[in-house]
Amino acid sequence: MLRLTYLYRNLTRNRLRTGLTLAAVALPIMIYVLSMAVVDGVERFLENSAKQLRLAVTQKASIVNPLPAGHRPKIEALDPTRTRLISVCGLRWIGGKIERDPRPLSTLGVDHDTFAATFPDYRLTPEELDVWARDRRALIAGRATARQFGWKVGDRVTIHPSVPPYIPMEFNIISTAEDAEDPITLICRLDYIEERLKEEGWAQGLVNFFFVKCATKADVDYYTVAIDELFAGSTHETKTQDEKAFMNEFITQQFDLPRNLTILAGVTVFVAVMAAANTMSMNFRDRTSEIATLKSMGFSSRFVFTQIQAESLLLCTIGGLIGALGPYIAFMHTRLGNLTVPLIQHLEISPTVVLEALAISVLIGIIAAVWPSWLAMRMKVVTALRSLE
C-alpha cells in the first residue's frame, strides 16, 4: 500500500512533467499503431490471397497486354472433371470515374457464371447471387468505396470507363459486399461490357487476366506450370503466378509501403524511448536527496530500484493506452473509419496491434528506467547526502 501511495504521489507531484511525458509516449505509439494497421491491412490481404488457392494468369510480357477470352475453355480443358481445377474466371479492368468527380475507381468486369465459384471470399448471399445471374447491369460495390460515394443497394450509378468503350455505362448496385475481403473493387459483368464494346465497334473477347481456383495447394503448384506450358509457343503466351505473388508485385511497386512503414514505426518507437528515458532520468535527478534519505531510513536498494521502475512502467503504460486506444476508437467506432488511406484505402486496427503497442509501451517504460533505477540502486547514501545543499 505504501508503495502505491508513494507511486501515486510521485506521479502527481509534477503534473506538468507527467502530462508531457504521457504525450511524448502516446503520440509515437499512435504513429506505431497507425503504420502497423496499414502494414497489417496489406498482410491480411496477402494472407487471404494465399489461402484462396487461386492462380493469376496474365500475358507473358506485361500485365497490361490483354489475353484472348478463348484461353478460358482451354484452361478448363486441363481438368474436365473439375476436381482439381475448380473454376476459371476472366477479368477485364475498366477503371473508371463517375461524372464530375476526380476520384479514380477500380472497376473490373468478370465472367459472371464463374465469379462466385472462383471468388467465394466475396461471400455473396444466395439472393445476391440470384440477382447477379439475372441482371446484366449488376454491380457489386466494395463496401469502403460504396460508403465513400454514399451508394446503397438498389442505387443506379453511371461509370465512365477509362478504357474502351469509353462511353458512360449504367449499373445497378446489387450488393455492397459487406463480408468481402476486398472492400474497394467494383465488380461488374463482362458480358455487359462486351455488349457495349460491340455496339461501339471495339475489339471484343479480350481480358486482362484469368483467375483460376484450385482444389489444393499441390494443384496450385501443378497448374502454375501446366497453364504456362499449355500456351508456350502460341501467339498468346501466359505467365501464371499464385495470387499472393501477383498481388505482392503491385504492392512492392507502391513505394514498398509495408517495408518502409515498418521502418518508420521502428523509428517512432525509438523516439518514444528517448522521450521517456529523458523524463525518467530527470525525475531521478530531482529526487537524488529523497532517494538517499529513503535509503538511509532503511529502505532497501531493491525497493528504490523497483519503485523507479514501477513509476516509469505506469507512466509509459498509460501513455501507451492513450496512444493505442485513441486511434482504435477513432477508426473503429466513429465516422473517421470512412477515411481513405493510401494503398489499402480502408484502415482496420486489429486488437492485436493494440496489444502489441501496449507491450511496446511497457518495454519503453522498462528501458527508460534502466539507467536511473540502476544509478539509484548503486547510489552511495553518504555521497548523495553530502552533496545536498
Binding site: I31, A61, V64, S162, Q253, L264, N278
Partner: protein, 390 residues
C-alpha cells in the same frame, strides 16, 4: 544586457544525458522529415520538369492517361486542321503520333523485382518536338530498325540497359532491340522511358493505333484556342497542355505530403515535450544561479532569452545533423508504379533547399515552443526565495 552565448553553450554539457537524448530526438525527427520530403520532392521535380507549355497532348476522352488511351487514324486525322501548329525546318507540321506500351524489366537492386517500364514508340519528329530530350551517349535509333534509346533514369534503375545491350520487347518478348543511345530529358518523367521506332513497336506489340498525339504550337499563348478547337465538336478529343497532363499525374505526391505532414506533426509534438522536459530540468536545477544572475542585474528578459537560445542551440545543431544524415539518401534512385499510367516512374530522392528550410523551421518551432514555458518559469524566479533556499 544579454547573457553571452558561451554561457548557454557550456550549460548544454551540464546535463549530458538529458541534452543528448533531446538532441538525438530532434535529429531523428528532422531526419525523418527530410527523407520523407525527399520522396515527394523527387517525384514532383521529375513530373514538374516534364512537358512544355507549347506542347499539347491529345487523348481519347474518358481515358485517364496515355496508357489507357486509344486513338483511331480517323480521329488523329482530324487534328491536322488545329490552329497554330508549328512547322519544322522542312515545313512539316510538328505532330507526333506516340504509341505507349510496356515491358517488364528487372530492377538493378539485389532483389531484382520486375518493373513495368514504359516503351514509347515515336517517329523522328518526337525528338524535335520534345525539346528537352537530348541524346547524351550513342545516337538516335534509325527509323525502321530494332533499335532503342533509353532514358538516363531508366538506365540507372533497371538492368541491362547499357549502351550496346539487347533487350527483349514485344507482346511475346520475342523481338531483340539493341540499345544504341541514352537520352536525358532535364530530369523529367520521360527519362524513365524507353523510346523505339513507332512502326516497329506497333508491329512487335501488334497494336497499330496511337495512344496519344502531341502537337507543337508556334507559341504557348496559342494553347487556349488550339485546345478549344480540339475539345470542341470539330475534333471531339481531349487535350491538355503537356505541363498540365504531368501535373495531374503528380497527384501521388499529395498522398506522401499528407502522410509526411501528419507524421511530422505528431513527432514534432513529441519533440516539443522532450525539449520542454529538458529545459524544465535545466531551469529547476539552476534556480540559485538564475536568482544570482537576477541579483547582479540581468533582466527577466535576458534570462528568458538565454533559455530559449539554449533550446535553439540544441535544436539547431540537431537539425544540421539530421539534415546531414538525410543527405546520404540524396540522389538515390527510386521508382513507383503510377496507378494512372501503370508504368513506373524512376526518380531521384532530392533534399532540396525547400526541405532544408522546412526542417530548419520545424527545428526552430520545436525549440522555441519547447523552451517557452520553462523560460517563463525561469524569468519568474523569486530572487529572495531562491537565494534563501540555498
Amino acid at each position: 544586457m544579454a547573457l553571452p552565448l558561451s554561457y548557454n553553450w557550456r550549460n548544454l554539457f551540464v546535463r549530458k544525458l538529458s541534452t543528448g537524448l533531446t538532441f538525438l530526438l530532434v535529429t531523428v525527427v528532422v531526419f525523418v522529415l527530410a527523407v520523407l520530403l525527399s520522396f515527394s520532392e523527387g517525384i514532383r521535380a521529375s513530373l514538374a520538369a516534364t512537358g512544355s507549355p507549347r506542347n499539347i497532348i491529345v487523348l481519347k476522352p474518358g481515358s485517364t492517361s496515355e496508357s489507357t488511351s486509344v486513338l483511331t487514324p480517323e480521329e488523329t486525322n482530324r487534328l491536322v486542321q488545329t490552329p497554330g501548329i508549328a512547322q519544322d525546318a522542312h515545313g512539316r507540321l510538328m505532330i507526333s503520333h506516340e504509341l505507349c506500351v510496356q515491358t517488364s524489366i528487372p530492377r538493378r537492386d539485389a532483389k531484382g523485382n520486375l518493373a513495368n517500364v514504359a516503351v514509347r514508340g515515336v517517329d523522328e519528329v518526337a525528338f524535335d518536338l520534345h525539346e528537352v530530350v537530348r541524346i547524351v551517349e550513342g545516337r538516335r535509333f534509325e527509323p525502321g530498325t530494332q533499335e532503342v534509346v533509353v532514358g538516363r533514369a531508366a538506365q540507372q534503375r533497371y538492368a541491362n540497359l547499357a549502351l550496346g545491350d539487347e533487350i527483349a520487347l514485344g507482346r511475346l518478348l520475342n523481338r531483340r532491340f539493341r540499345v544504341v543511345g541514352v537520352f536525358e530529358a532535364g530530369g523529367s518523367a520521360m527519362e524513365s522511358e524507353i523510346w523505339a521506332p513507332r512502326t516497329i513497336v506497333a508491329d512487335a506489340y501488334n497494336r497499330h493505333l496511337s495512344s496519344s498525339v502531341v502537337l507543337r504550337l508556334e507559341d504557348a499563348a496559342l494553347a487556349g484556342p488550339a485546345m478549344d478547337y480540339i475539345n470542341g465538336p470539330a475534333v471531339n478529343l481531349e487535350s491538355k497542355t503537356e505541363v498540365a497532363y504531368y501535373k495531374d499525374l503528380s497527384s501521388k505526391t499529395r498522398e506522401i505530403v499528407i502522410l509526411t505532414t501528419v507524421l511530422i506533426t505528431i513527432m514534432g509534438i513529441g519533440a516539443v515535450f522532450a525539449v520542454a522536459n529538458t529545459m524544465y530540468a535545466a531551469v529547476d536545477s539552476r534556480r540559485r544561479e538564475i536568482a544570482m544572475l537576477r541579483t547582479i542585474g540581468f533582466s527577466k528578459r535576458s534570462i528568458m532569452i538565454a533559455f530559449v537560445v539554449e533550446s535553439l542551440l540544441i535544436c539547431g545543431l540537431a537539425c544540421v545533423v539530421g539534415l546531414a544524415a538525410s543527405l546520404s539518401f540524396h540522389g538515390q534512385r527510386q521508382d513507383y508504379l503510377s496507378n494512372a499510367t501503370w508504368t513506373v516512374l524512376a526518380y531521384e530522392l532530392k533534399v532540396t533547399p525547400r526541405t532544408v528550410l522546412t526542417a530548419l523551421a520545424l527545428a526552430m518551432i520545436v525549440g522555441v515552443i519547447g523552451a517557452l514555458a520553462p523560460a517563463l518559469r525561469a524569468a519568474r524566479t523569486q530572487v529572495i526565495e531562491a537565494l534563501r533556499k540555498a
